[in-house]
Point group: D2
């Protein structure tokens, strides 16, 4: 039997490398040899806290949901893929029949099975199976890493779609972390012409410039951004206290704010008097829907540089080190685990 190593999270700060059986693909599924798996803040959050909101790690679970691989086996009835296809994996498979699914909002499906949301296993593993319709072939011009990063890029695309970013829009993005730079790149391909990114980490701000930001602002100790800029759209990717209110105050009349970053508090203050007088809109986002084909088209057309976001590679055995990389080093943006490399 071929080995199938996995990095399994048992409890807070208890991540173990284990052998798992290689699964058989069910009808309609493919078996995938994993190539690149990005480390997301949510993986690290489970590792540190054992939960995210109402999702609780109460049984050992494989983390990881930003992933790419190669098809190495086909279940019965698979007709959209062949062995050898390089694929990006969309990590959430919805039910397809509930009212949310039928309305095109499958990201809100209450029955979705989403990688690395306990108890559903994720992608830090050598082999896994997935429904063929959530495994998207990518052309050779897209690297394994870039294929894995279709997931966070989808978050950026979704934020731009929810916000209605269109040609000529001015966009403020709070947070130049892994999601912020995805929102930045997405905003540019949606046609935004004035994209301002804020953060308190100067390394990240410099990288934002190199990835296409028209302007960056170090908001360390900044109280009132609205004297410095006006934006049609605000995408909150920092999760930082006050960032939401601070950003919304920069919006033009009829402006739109989209919250992507998860704040630690359940309730947040919004500038309601300004929201009223300017008719602002605030929308939450939860994952994404129908973004993978778009993300792949944009990457294949060379409109974005996803590889430039990767700052380190790790073997599966080094997954824990990958989780901790960003803690000590402010230059780390996106760490990638290669489950089938040594």
């Amino acid at each position: 039997m071929m080995p199938n190593k996995a990095a399994v999270l048992y409890a807070v700060h208890d991540l173990r490398i284990e052998q798992r059986p290689i699964p058989d693909p069910a009808p309609g599924e493919v078996l995938v040899e994993m190539r690149s798996v990005g480390v997301c803040g949510s993986d690290v959050h489970y590792y540190n806290e054992g939960r995210i909101g109402s999702f609780v790690l109460d049984s050992p679970t494989i983390m990881g949901h930003e992933s790419s691989g190669v098809v190495v086996g086909l279940g019965e009835g698979v007709d959209t893929l062949q062995v050898g296809d390089r694929i990006a994996l969309e990590p959430g498979v919805p039910c397809g029949t509930c009212m949310q699914c039928r309305s095109g909002r499958y990201n809100l499906c209450p029955y979705v099975k989403f990688f690395a949301s306990p108890p559903v296993d994720g992608a830090f593993v050598q082999y896994l199976t997935i429904n063929q319709h959530f495994a998207y072939p990518v052309p050779d011009t897209i690297s394994d890493d870039a294929a894995a990063l279709m997931e966070p890029f989808s978050v950026g695309i979704w934020a731009c779609r929810k916000a209605g970013v269109s040609a000529g829009a001015s966009v403020l993005i709070a947070g130049a972390g892994p999601i912020g730079v995805m929102a930045l790149q997405a905003a540019r391909v949606f046609g935004a012409t004035d994209v301002v990114v804020t953060d308190t980490n100067t390394y990240r701000l410099e990288r934002a410039i190199s990835l296409g930001a028209d302007r960056v602002i170090d908001v360390s100790g900044e109280d009132d951004l609205s004297t410095q800029l006006t934006a049609d759209i605000f995408i909150e990717c920092s999760g930082a206290p006050h960032a939401l209110t601070q950003g919304m105050k920069c919006l033009s009349p009829a402006g739109v704010a989209v919250a992507v970053g998860m704040a630690s508090a359940d309730d947040l203050l919004v500038p309601m008097a300004v929201m009223q007088s300017k008719e602002l809109t605030l929308t939450g986002t939860f994952r994404y829907a129908n973004t993978y084909p778009i993300a792949i088209s944009l990457a294949a057309a060379g409109r974005v540089d996803l590889d430039a976001c990767v700052t380190g590679h790790y073997s599966l055995e080094e997954t824990e080190a990958a989780f901790m990389a960003s803690k000590s080093d402010p230059t780390v943006l996106k760490s990638v685990v290669r489950p089938n490399e040594v």
Copy 2:
């Protein structure tokens, strides 16, 4: 010279009846003999506080912006109205050339001249002039009072349009005051089939039932509405503390909240964790745009009963009594001043 009495607010609790000259209509304007002028909470707020947010009463100003009348004079070039036409007056005349106006959002025009927003005079007066394009003829089936109430009905229509109320929607409305009942009637004509109205005033809740609410809830001492109901759309018309958060927690996935009521605080708490996981949207509203033709069509077609909202009539000299009517009597909903009746 004909008399032209006006109720002029000089300062907090200082409302005086004065004689003003009857104005000459400028080119494109008509002279209007006023028939009905509704008392709005904002009139009373200026009377009690001398300001609303950034709008400050710093010179004597005539209040009143819910009004109807009869055309009695025509300025040069008027071509849409004739002497004798009964009209509803849209109280805000925007500039027509700024970016907000050109985008169809004339309610956000920074140059708008809006009745009873100091220093612009309003409608508690016997005669005034208005741009012909903001004076809408009404058929005889619409009473003078109903014609005046096109203004608050416009607020209800605007809330429903911003919220996207459509056929089969379930709608929660917080507050059964003059705006809440307008939102209620608007929601029904937009096709909502399950409209729930909350308040703490039992008279108002009973009236909401008679005006078409499918259900009412007395929220005195109520903490968690979300165990009792789910709604696609939430229209906040109460301005009450906690009402926004309480209502938003009742929303279905992809639900929309619209804030109409003005809270006393500039910043309000929103349930951001819920907004994220359900992808809720919150929108502020500021007045309305392009609603008068719709409001008049609906009233003319008998789809709403605006007269049923009127609970008392006053002469111009009694304007101050009209302002105070709702303070002592919980059954008062909408008081109407008749400037040209004794």
Copy 3:
């Protein structure tokens, strides 16, 4: 064994009553005893022509897709229904995973199995099985006939949604047949205040008045409707030659036309010069998506009178007579077969 009679179409004008085995519900399916099945123009079209466009009757097929029944058996895992539930059947079950399904446009799913689209069997039968998610419980206030008519009412709702009918809209509907009167009733519940219906059958025009039309026009020999009326929205339900062009010429600037009726020709003339100068929009419609819950809510709330559209009842054995009813009698609107009545 219980009998399970079906009306099976073998070929043009060859409809046979046969015994079929009662099917076993597969996992997730329910067994339904049929109550009411409406005769649709498409059933009659297959009976007369043996095909509709690219859909060809090349094997014996049971017609009928407007239906209601009672749940009499449950497949494994059914959790949304119980034996005894009265239901409306949505006749098209899509795949749930293709790009159209995931985008909320499941009516465009290329893999949909739709009742009475050869070779998929339909509803003129005593017992059939259906996926539980496409069987919608109805309250007792909704009759069996009305439950069956959720299907054509869905067509009317879909037309209004595609057209963006909203409160205060003026709507022109061409054709007062079974679909036209559904569009009429839908337009009213979406808030339209000025609904004009055209036809050449005076019985149908009279019925349109009784079902809520504000005005009807007999277009026998009528060439240019645009001198008589202007509409924001035009819903073509007649399939008649010239009706599309004639109706579009009545539209206001930025008006929307929706084609529901199927014309006999593949290509039709549109008034492109007018479409350009007024920026008109024309949209095709194909079935409907996400309409059943709305349709049921509206019927349950008493906003529409679907029973008033039924003009005759037939037993299963009389299905052929039901098909031919409208041919000879201009007062016939909707014939209903009751498969389990004698």
Copy 4:
């Protein structure tokens, strides 16, 4: 007195160079010294036919509506511009108060005064006046020619907005003439990743490639494009017979077609059977609204190359030669007149 030469069209093939008085700017207007004026197909059409649809040349009129210049005089109350500002001129000034204007559709204003729509004079003149709000300052990075071409670029932007072009869309454009290449460049900045352009002129197809088309197709003698490509969006810019039907047949389900090119016939055939089964939408376009700020932002950000579309320069005296340039030379795309150069 300074000279003010103009190229005035008196009748078919009767274009005269005349001296006109330099106008005084009215209140709110600026006096502009013209720099670049593009020749549009509509100018040439008036020159050759004396009319376009219902617009008839019945008095001598100055043609030209794609223009840029420098502010050299200020009317009373001008507060958004200064002498010396380089500007792009939006050629249509709407009324600002009609229902179309108030709804944000000022391009449909029945009272608009549009350059070179008889009897309103246009831009082939040395000096003219314009409302300050329709004179947009441009930065030095935008050339005079590019500033003039904001007008046809606006047509391209408008087509993309009406079509809903967004990131990852595939777009088919029929016609690689001056409007086609503007639609092409606009589609790319709106995020389209697969843009196919068709024409029968090989010079134009080559230029389309250099301006960013992903693929071009020579449709000389081509009957059925749909076997070669599928597109989400189709923008008809050719006005050629059959192009509309041919392009619409290439659309994916739920696809959108936008007609920009003016065909010679008032009525055109559309593939209605396909429109029904795929729920396609077809929209006409008329000029544009709210595009100039976007067009200028995009050009200033270097997202488009408008100068590359200019193929020849002419003095005012050579206006007639500019009109005829494209007739004999298939490589001509956009000719530009410089009214104040010799």
